[in-house]
Symmetry: C2
Subunit: 194 residues, 2 copies
């Protein structure tokens, strides 16, 4: 498994990009093999089939969220600082990572029921992590007078949407975009302090 | 054309919903006819084919934005009030409308090049309308110190994401969600006033 890590990561990214470009249904195993630079026989060494690959890609994307966002944020006791780390790290991962991975996470309709339940549970756990942070802020009187569920979806929509528009070779640098998103995200849900 | 309006609207909504459920590629004309309650011969009375239908659905969705959001907002001279009307009306249309129409708007990859250019131009015009409002706010010193492009995409991501999660039969009423989204959206991009 360890030896397969890097190659698997390469396949997941290439497969996610071709799935986004052509649409999941229209993407064949041949397309995926070609995008990953493997023969069709070669790709079956790594994956069993398209649905299985989709499930692995989604787990790979959720692993990145767990390790890169949740794990470091969980260490932070202060809710406002924790929220800042969540917004900053998640935004950075979408800005700097492969946008296609974020988009492919929405294809849960193409999973088998058992796989769909597993991915939905992982997404829900992340959602709950953000919402519980916002509930802490509400208890401290720092949250705007809004429903924490609506606020959580607002932040997630804002961040996940980056995958739809941001181009690393475009006019807006990643550092500026990151700074602005943190400013906008925090301002979106926190009460004004004069 | 006029007589076809209501029937067309029914077909667009039903088709958008089945396309979201099954994925555009996997949806057949038979599926669409069935969802719209028409025979396969009947549906060809209204539309020429799947790509053509997709293009018509997208124009229908953009017409709704133009009539329901842009036209009334354009009448408002004050930039802050204009932004509030944009956020409120667009959010309301996603909360109360057919979420599938919003999601289908992303399927531009499935359009012919000429159709894709036409839809992209309409989306861009809407984007520019919001961004120019944010630029007015920047000139008035009311915008957060952020790039108006990033702020525009933040607002759009927040609003368009509603189609992914909001259920009218769920625990959060449309009026509460609307109120919260307007609060969050305005707070996201405007400077604090003490």
């Amino acid at each position: 498994m360890e030896g397969k890590g890097k190659r698997a990561s390469h396949i997941y990214r290439a497969a996610a990009e071709i799935m986004c470009e052509k649409g999941y249904e229209a993407t064949s195993m041949n397309d995926i093999a070609e995008a990953a630079g493997l023969t069709k026989a070669g790709i079956y060494h790594y994956i069993r089939g398209k649905e299985d690959l989709l499930f692995e890609i989604m787990n790979y994307a959720m692993d990145a969220v767990d390790h890169g966002v949740v794990a470091p944020a969980r260490e932070i006791e202060d809710a406002e600082q924790r929220l800042r780390v969540i917004v900053e790290r998640h935004t950075r991962s979408v800005l700097e990572g492969v946008g296609a991975l974020t988009i492919v996470l929405e294809e849960t309709g193409a999973l088998t029921p058992a796989h769909r339940r597993a991915i939905t549970a992982r997404k829900r756990a992340y959602f709950e992590f953000i919402r519980s942070t916002l509930r802490c802020l509400a208890a401290e009187g720092k949250l705007l007078p809004v429903d924490p569920t609506v606020a959580t979806f607002s932040l997630l929509g804002m961040i996940l949407w980056i995958s739809r528009w941001y181009r690393r070779d475009g006019p807006i640098g990643a550092e500026q975009a990151l700074r602005d998103y943190v400013e906008i995200g925090m301002s979106a849900v926190l009460r004004k302090t004069s």
